[in-house]
Structures are given as C-alpha cells and as structure tokens.
Symmetry: C2
Subunit: 205 residues, 2 copies
C-alpha cells in the first residue's frame, strides 16, 4: 500500500488498480477506460487480461476495495498515533484529521480528484448492483474505523454511529462543493460549523 | 416549473431539459445521451437541433440551471410558508425541510436518482470547465436562499454562510451514502447528529 493516495504502487497489477482508482476519482466509472488504465499504469496490455480476467468490472471492484482499505488505514493512523499521544482526543479533532489530507490533495491536484466511491455511486449505482455494493463496502470500510475511534474516545456506541455517518457525509459533500468552487472555502466553513456537533459528550438539548 | 422534481414539464424544450437532468441524476453527464434524452422527453429528434444548437453542452448547462432554480424554489417555500407561520423557526427545522423531499424521493425512486450537480462534478469537473462552472452555479443558486433563510431567522451573516455550506455538504454526502446503502439510515443519523450544530444562537465553546 502506498504511503500517500498519489504515490504509485509497485507491481503492474497494483499499478493498474491504482490507475483505475485515480481515473474514477477524476471522471467516474463510465469514463474510466481500460486502455487508459493500462497506459497510466505503464503496464503491458496483456497483463490486463492476465490479472483481470473479469475485465473492467473486476478492475473497478478492486479499485474500490483498495480505496476503502486506503481510507481506513488513514483513519487508523489517528488511532495509533494521536489517540495514544493526545491527552484529550475529540470527535472534532478526528474530523480535522480526516479532512486535512483531502484539503492538501485537492489543492495539490488542482481540485481534479474526488472520492472514487462517490463517483461510482453517481454514475453507476442506479443500474449496476455490483458497483453499488463495492462502493457501499468501500464507504463502510472507511467508516468502521471512524466509529471505532469515536468509541475508543468514550463516545457511546449509537452516537458513535451517528457521528461517523455525519463526518463521512459532511466530508463527501465538502469534496463536491470544493471541486465545484475550486476552493477550500466549503471545507473551512464545514469544519467550523460542524464543531458544536462533534463534542465528546452529547450536547444536552 | 413542475411542482415536484419528477412531474414532467410541458413543452418539448422543457421536457428535454428535464429529461437531461433526470439522466444526469441517475448516471452522470458522461452517460447522458442525446438520443435517450429525446426519447425520454417524447420529443421529435429535430427539436433537439432546433432548441439546442449548442448540442449536449447546452443541454447539460440548461439542465443544471433548471436544477439550481428548482432547488432554490424548494428552499424559498420554507421562507414563504414555515417562516411566516412558525413562531420559532430554527436552522435545524430548515435542514429537516431540505432533507425531507430527498428522503421521500430516494425511497420512491428506489435510490436511483441523486443530485445532478454532484454527478456533474464527479465525472466532468476535472476536465470540462463549462460543466464545472454550471454545476458550481447550480449549487450556489441552491445555497443562496438557505443562507438568506438563516439570516431571516436572525443568524449572524458569516455564521449563516458557514451553516448553509454545512447543510448542503451534509445533504450531498447523505445522498451518496443513502444511494450506496439503498437505505435512509445515513439520513436519519446525519439529521440527528447535526442538530447540535444547527441552533439559532451560536453554541458557546
């Protein structure tokens, strides 16, 4: 697994999965083409059939699985570093940890790459049940360690589920707004406005 | 303008714009095809060239403009009805007003249709500057009356901008999660978890 979402992995097989994920992030599933993936991965054309006998569907499935694992690893790094070194970790701190790499990458990549699972839902969930479930599983893989991190902070289980759904929804929406505006302004507003909802103790009504 | 997002408008021209918007909601811009739009609009093929000499780009532009106007009208209905009849309108109440029609339509349409602006951003914003700006403008048209409604409730201007960005981001993200899961569960969690952030007075830190 690469140490950043844009560092290229090593084997031709890994490079093709990675290239497919990056194309999905730029332009969705429909516009992700096998020839372009092979070219971007700098892989021999024959390796596509060799590693992905299931064709484009298999490539999309593996790209979404990779994306879910990658996103989950990013969350886990908060658990293993910040949670053990911070005296008072908070849901708001976790959200800022989730948001920061997206802010950095959006700027570095000129707002050209979003979330591959969101892109897959947008252009394929309605009529390709496989893609819908792979995207669902990628989002669930991302969300599970968020819920877990919240519980480790002491957030009650059902509220942890609520907060992880809110964090993921707000992040996905902020990515869309930021790409539309080519600006981090929506991120800054979302982080600021969300803070009162992301307390360790449930606010009293 | 139709009274619901799925009621068909009358003229062939309007029907084509509407059909394009619905196709974008189901499967994005790339998979929106002119032949399918004309067929779905039950319009003569020649009327496409007649009304849309700019081709697919013009159709996408007008579909996004329609979507922005439609969404804005939905927000304004809160201003003109609830705000004048409710003694204590709240940001949380406005958010639930924004969310409810989406929840209803997602279920009614079997989670097959999302936001056309989000779909356009996902598959086209990276390399089609026109589509990016049309999507941006549609989202801005939707957001402006949300900001305005918050200000009319007495929310201070810069916080109203923060909250409208948060509401739109959370809603866009909830739509993606709900379509992936084919469930309203993410909506219910987002509405519940967001409530502490959507108070009339800014919560004290």
């Amino acid at each position: 697994m690469p140490s950043s979402p844009t560092e290229r992995p090593r084997s031709p097989r890994q490079r093709m999965v990675y290239a497919a994920a990056q194309q999905m992030r730029r332009q969705g599933v429909a516009r992700t083409g096998l020839r372009a993936v092979v070219a971007e991965a700098d892989a021999p054309w024959g390796s596509l059939q060799h590693y992905f006998p299931g064709g484009k569907d298999q490539l999309i499935a593996e790209a979404l699985e990779w994306a879910g694992r990658y996103a989950a690893a990013g969350v886990t790094s908060y658990l293993t570093t910040t949670l053990t070194t911070t005296s008072a970790p908070t849901p708001a701190g976790l959200f800022e940890h989730l948001v920061r790499p997206w802010q950095e990458e959006l700027v570095r990549r000129d707002f050209a790459r979003g979330c591959p699972a969101a892109a897959a839902v947008s252009d394929s969930a309605a009529d390709h049940e496989g893609i819908r479930t792979w995207a669902r599983d990628a989002l669930a893989a991302w969300r599970a360690p968020i819920t877990q991190a919240l519980e480790q902070m002491g957030v009650e289980a059902s509220r942890a589920q609520d907060l992880s759904a809110l964090m993921l929804a707000a992040l996905e929406g902020a990515i869309i707004l930021a790409r539309a505006e080519r600006s981090l302004d929506p991120f800054e507003r979302v982080v600021r406005a969300l803070r009162p909802a992301l307390t360790l103790e449930a606010p009293s009504d």
